[in-house]
């Protein structure tokens, strides 16, 4: 690096993030480190204190007339706007509430990374036992609502033999940007209409709180599988 850039970076470090954000600055750096798949211990479970025990969740199997307590302060379900599912139904992200779920962002015409990322997702599913599999849900959200229509999402799901545990969602650009922000997924539309994006699989607990994330392609499913098992056995 040239001396000029070194100076620029030094100045940046002096006058950039400060004050109460040092903890978050570390977290931000952790998010970038390869192999540091886990979000460093930042989950705040104190918000669960008033939440009834998970024994209730057996009654939630069909999500009918569920008494919706306020989501935890870190739940992704706080992004509560409606998306369109691959069958045309309007749903919110909390459609998977009550289940450990893995969420990824992709787009349908992506030829390089997305097929691998989806394969990595399915590897996780295949590594689970039958009863474990029944309890897990998958959310796939497109960056590209223009080209990924309800029909093309349904077609993609069929082509990948995704059963109804898989929900593919399209929404507005504002929704997509907000979700990417909450998940720490970077993306941009390139001039050719493709998307540059980071490759991330994120594990949500039953309350939609991020508990684990994996970045990269051809990632091993073991860590995710272990975390899912922890979640299922802890009730």
């Amino acid at each position: 690096m040239s001396p000029r850039y070194t100076l620029a970076l030094a100045l940046l470090l002096c006058c950039g993030c400060s004050g109460t954000s040092t903890e978050n600055a570390e977290q931000g750096q952790h998010a970038g480190h390869a192999g540091h798949a886990e979000q460093g211990g930042h989950v705040d479970h104190s918000a669960h204190a008033g939440h009834s025990a998970h024994a209730d969740h057996g009654a939630h199997a069909d999500h009918v007339a569920m008494d919706m307590a306020e989501p935890s302060g870190e739940s992704i379900f706080l992004l509560d706007s409606e998306w369109t599912r691959q069958d045309g139904e309007a749903v919110t992200l909390s459609t998977v509430r009550g289940h450990p779920s893995v969420i990824l962002m992709f787009y349908g015409t992506c030829e390089a990374a997305c097929p691998i990322l989806i394969h990595d997702l399915q590897q996780i599913d295949e590594a689970l036992g039958e009863q474990e599999r029944a309890q897990v849900r998958y959310l796939l959200v497109t960056f590209d609502p223009e080209r990924d229509t309800v029909q093309s999402l349904a077609q993609l799901a069929r082509g990948k033999e995704m059963d109804d545990r898989y929900t593919l969602l399209r929404g507005s650009e504002e929704q997509i940007r907000a979700l990417s922000m909450a998940l720490g997924v970077r993306y941009r539309r390139t001039p050719s209409g493709e998307f540059s994006h980071s490759n991330v699989l994120t594990l949500l607990d039953r309350e939609g709180v991020v508990t684990h994330r994996v970045e990269g392609l051809n990632t091993e499913p073991d860590a995710m599988v272990a975390r899912i098992r922890d979640m299922l056995t802890s009730g």
Binding site: A8, L11, C15, G19, G28, S75, M181, A182, R188, S196
Partner: protein, 277 residues
């Protein structure tokens, strides 16, 4: 720089507001069309400048020869102030310190305010609102029927100096900007004290960092120490490491800063302004 004590500061704010009101009145009565004058604190609507359409080479092109096209839009001439942000949280309890969900703002949110619904004597009403997260800034703009500017829009307007739409790479400007970054004012001084750029927009340089709608759109990796193979697989289609305009140090630092951010972060010298179509 001598910092005035509390009473002195209040006096200066009152004087400044009076001057601002007089300047605004003068501007309105002038026969020539001018960029909006600095608004007084009493005006209900935020002054916005009309930015014409333009094209420029982005700092991090994703393809060679890429040009960013910016459609005409409007941009706040000033960053959002503490006074205006206070009015927002008073009307939107969900966004008060202590009530905002942790997903949307970290514990530093509005940390310098004396309470969730008051600034206190240590916080200037006319200074830029800082320690606000991206989610909070976006919510503020949405509540106003506006939005955050995109990075392309913000950077486009930031290329301008007082005389030209593309003045930022002159040696004099580069020196001035590096000087600012070398001695940060931490954003505790009132907005609008410098000279506006050619569009009539103030404070894009030298006061605070500012949120943009899509700050997570740049594929720059912030840490050179990472394993190379892993890094290659983290971004699909990311060919954005090489910047086009290496003379524009200010832009380089802004992109580096943005790449370190997460949407829930609150930072003492990071604020925002709104845009509209």
């Amino acid at each position: 720089m001598v910092r005035p004590r509390c009473e002195g500061r209040l006096f200066l704010v009152l004087v400044g507001a009076s001057i601002g009101a007089l300047a605004g009145a003068w501007g309105a009565s002038s026969a020539r069309s001018q960029p909006p004058g600095r608004p007084s604190g009493a005006e209900p609507a935020e002054a916005m400048a009309r930015i014409p359409a333009g094209r420029y080479e982005p700092f991090y092109p994703s393809e060679p020869g890429e040009r960013v096209t910016v459609a005409p839009f409007r941009l706040d001439v000033l960053p959002v102030t503490n006074a205006r942000y206070l009015a927002f949280v008073r009307g939107h309890p969900r966004w008060r310190r202590g009530s905002v969900p942790r997903l949307f703002a970290d514990p530093g949110y509005l940390g310098r305010w004396s309470s969730p619904t008051s600034l206190g004597s240590g916080v200037l009403p006319e200074a830029p609102a800082t320690q606000v997260s991206w989610f909070a800034a976006a919510a503020y703009c949405r509540a106003r029927g506006a939005r955050l500017p995109t990075e392309a829009e913000w950077e486009y307007v930031a290329r301008a100096d007082e005389r030209s739409p593309d003045g930022m790479t002159t040696p004099a400007n580069v020196r001035r900007i590096l000087g600012w970054y070398g001695s940060p004012r931490r954003g505790r001084t009132p907005v609008g004290e410098g000279a506006p750029n050619i569009y009539g927009v103030y404070d894009l340089h030298g006061l605070i960092w500012e949120w943009v709608e899509d700050f997570n759109a740049t594929m720059v990796s912030g840490d050179n120490r990472q394993d190379r193979d892993q890094q290659r697989n983290r971004f699909c289609g990311g060919a954005s490491i090489g910047s086009a305009d290496i003379g524009n140090y200010a832009a380089f630092m802004r992109f580096a800063f943005r790449s370190s951010l997460e949407a829930s972060y609150t930072v003492p010298n990071l604020g925002f302004r709104c845009a509209a179509d």
